[in-house]
């Protein structure tokens, strides 16, 4: 690590002046984003996590192509691969072979590889979109509370405190279980996914909201905001042009760390039987089916478990790296 010098350029000043700048360079203005990117590039673990995340996204996007090349249709049963007496796959390690790369499901013989590939779609879709819902709601309400203060702040803060103290998993399960199977012109899996995204996002926004509120509260008193105000800038201009750019760092950090949590929540809901319903594949749902077979066919449990683990771990590694890169104190 190079010795941190003080970068006091106008753009970075509002965040924290103590940002690392390499010693051989003259002190010049660099945006926070560029400093963070330089740091992130040096963090091998975070980069590895980021690359795996990109690969997973590619797998989810090109799922039909990948399955067409290497697997079988995810709903196709292969009863010939199943021992009729014990209902377990024929062959070692859950029926792993060149034909079925990760074996077949006990009972009906569906190709596990294809279901894992399609399961990535559900996990990532819910993980990303619910984080987006939380970020949008949290940023808007947090900024409003922090900027306007008064009764608006009091009301929004109370709601956030309340939501954070709620027994969340319980409410998420209850909410999802009362939603009918047809809504918003969608049916089946579409409704389930939409509801999961909205509900997980709804319980996630107070985490972002609290941080944005705190940051806005301290930022709006800064001189540069006062300067903008004295030059006649309107509220909208100050909020969007002066405050929001300085909120990007904390929002980015919390979003990247929120996605893996949401992926775990989706898997948990599917495991408990309130997530997406079969035949749509999801990792949590595969694990819940594996409960019955963990003694006879442990591979069926290991494959989706490892898939969840790798995905969440990669997101966490990347998220930790992003957090460290944006950290004004600079050392890990």
């Amino acid at each position: 690590m190079t010795a941190p010098l003080h970068d006091t350029s106008a753009e970075t000043a509002p965040v924290d002046p103590a940002l690392g700048v390499s010693a051989d360079k003259a002190i010049e203005g660099r945006s926070l984003g560029r400093i963070a990117w330089t740091r992130l590039k040096r963090d091998k673990l975070a980069l590895t996590g980021g690359i795996i995340v990109l690969l997973l996204i590619a797998v989810a996007v090109f799922a039909p192509l990948i399955v067409g090349l290497l697997g079988h249709p995810p709903d196709q049963h292969h009863e010939d691969k199943i021992d009729p007496l014990f209902q377990t796959p024929i062959g070692t390690l859950g029926g792993i072979s060149g034909d079925h790369l990760l074996g077949v499901e006990p009972g009906n013989g569906r190709d596990i590889f294809s279901r894992i590939v399609y399961g990535a779609r559900v996990s990532l879709l819910v993980g990303f979109l619910s984080a987006m819902v939380a970020v949008v709601v949290g940023t808007v309400l947090g900024a409003l509370a922090g900027y306007f203060g008064g009764w608006l702040d009091a009301a929004i803060s109370r709601v956030m405190d309340m939501l954070l103290a709620f027994p969340q998993l319980l409410f998420i399960i209850s909410l999802i279980s009362v939603v009918p199977s047809q809504m918003f012109g969608l049916t089946g899996t579409g409704v389930r996914l939409t509801v999961m995204i909205l509900v997980i996002g709804f319980f996630g926004w107070p985490y972002i909201g609290r941080i944005v509120r705190g940051q806005t509260l301290s930022l709006r008193e800064r001189e540069y905001v006062e300067a903008a105000r004295s030059l006649g800038a309107g509220r909208r201009y100050i909020l969007f042009k002066e405050l929001l750019p300085n909120l990007i760092a904390p929002i980015t950090v919390y979003t990247t760390l929120m996605i893996p949590t949401n992926i775990l929540t989706e898997a948990a809901l599917s495991f408990l039987g309130v997530g997406v319903k079969p035949p749509t594949a999801s990792w949590g749902q595969m694990l819940s089916q594996a409960v019955r077979y963990y003694e006879a066919d442990p591979m069926f449990m290991v494959v989706p478990g490892v898939a969840i683990f790798i995905t969440v771990l990669s997101f966490n590694l990347f998220g930790d790296g992003v957090r460290d890169a944006f950290d004004p104190k600079g050392t890990r």
Binding site: A165, I173, F309, L313, D320
Partner: protein, 350 residues
Amino acid sequence: MNSSKTSGSPPGPAGPEAVLTYLIRRLFAVVVMLIVVMLAVFGIFFLIPKWTGVDPATMFVGKQADAAALEGIREKLGLGDPILVQLFEFFKGILVGRDYVSAGDTIHCSAPCFGYSFKTEQAIWPVLADRLPVTLQLAAGAAVIWLLIGLTAGVVSALRRGSIWDRMTMSLALSGVSLPIYFTGLLSLAIFSYGLGLVSNEYTPMTENFPSWFSGMILPWLTLAFLFGAMYARLTRATMLEVMGEDYIRTARAKGVREPIVIRKHAMRSTMTPIITLLGVDLGALMGGAILTETTFSLPGLGQAVLKAISEKDLPLILGVTLITASAVVVANLIVDLLYGVIDPRVRLA
């Protein structure tokens, strides 16, 4: 843990009167919170179906039920009564008990009365009282283990930052927070119970057979403690690193306080503040949120009961468990807030 400076003295410069006001304000907030939780549960099970065009009564008896059965259910649930009347009756039941009039008979349900299950028609409170100890045992046992592991690992990692120990523990901790509990649970069941036959995979009540109880609880404890221990180790390390850079630590060292004392008396105090906050929330949430652990290990606790109740839309049971959970969360938060003043001399009730 208390130094002579803080023990015994009333917290805060404003004196006991301020504490009383504070307590009353907090208790008021607790009551508001519980009412909101109840309204939310009521809303989920009565209003959402109404908006989406589903008759609540059909959710309980099924769509094929005839008109008479539907009418019976409506009367039994008091669905015809205004929502405020239903709420009032429910509160009255918990505080002083209530009477049910059904087909001319009057049944008295003494306090705390959470009503009767829609499905089994059993009183709710005995069911809750039966299952609460299992959840309590699970949470308490796991908490002891995760605090021991998490705090030790976090403190040692922070003090030896960058060492092999630090890197290994933190990698393990990162894996811990990335593993779903039902996966580690199933894995440990497959290895230690089915594979090696070391422990039981069934729950036995403690009073029935103590060794079997212990054998059945050890895997749930360790699995839960692995997840939370990993979270606490990460938090402890981060907080400790931050605290060790504070001015007052430098001052303590400068005035010649020996390092072990600096760590134990000065650094640990502020490190404990966020950890106790988290512990309060976690323990409270686990009262109803050990759903995943209880499902994985088939433990007959509150989480398992509520999951079944949700799938059967058994409102009184869901309300009972949610209220217990919400109370546990708010009470734990209250205790935590009061503990702050004792642990961290910089925090005073304001």
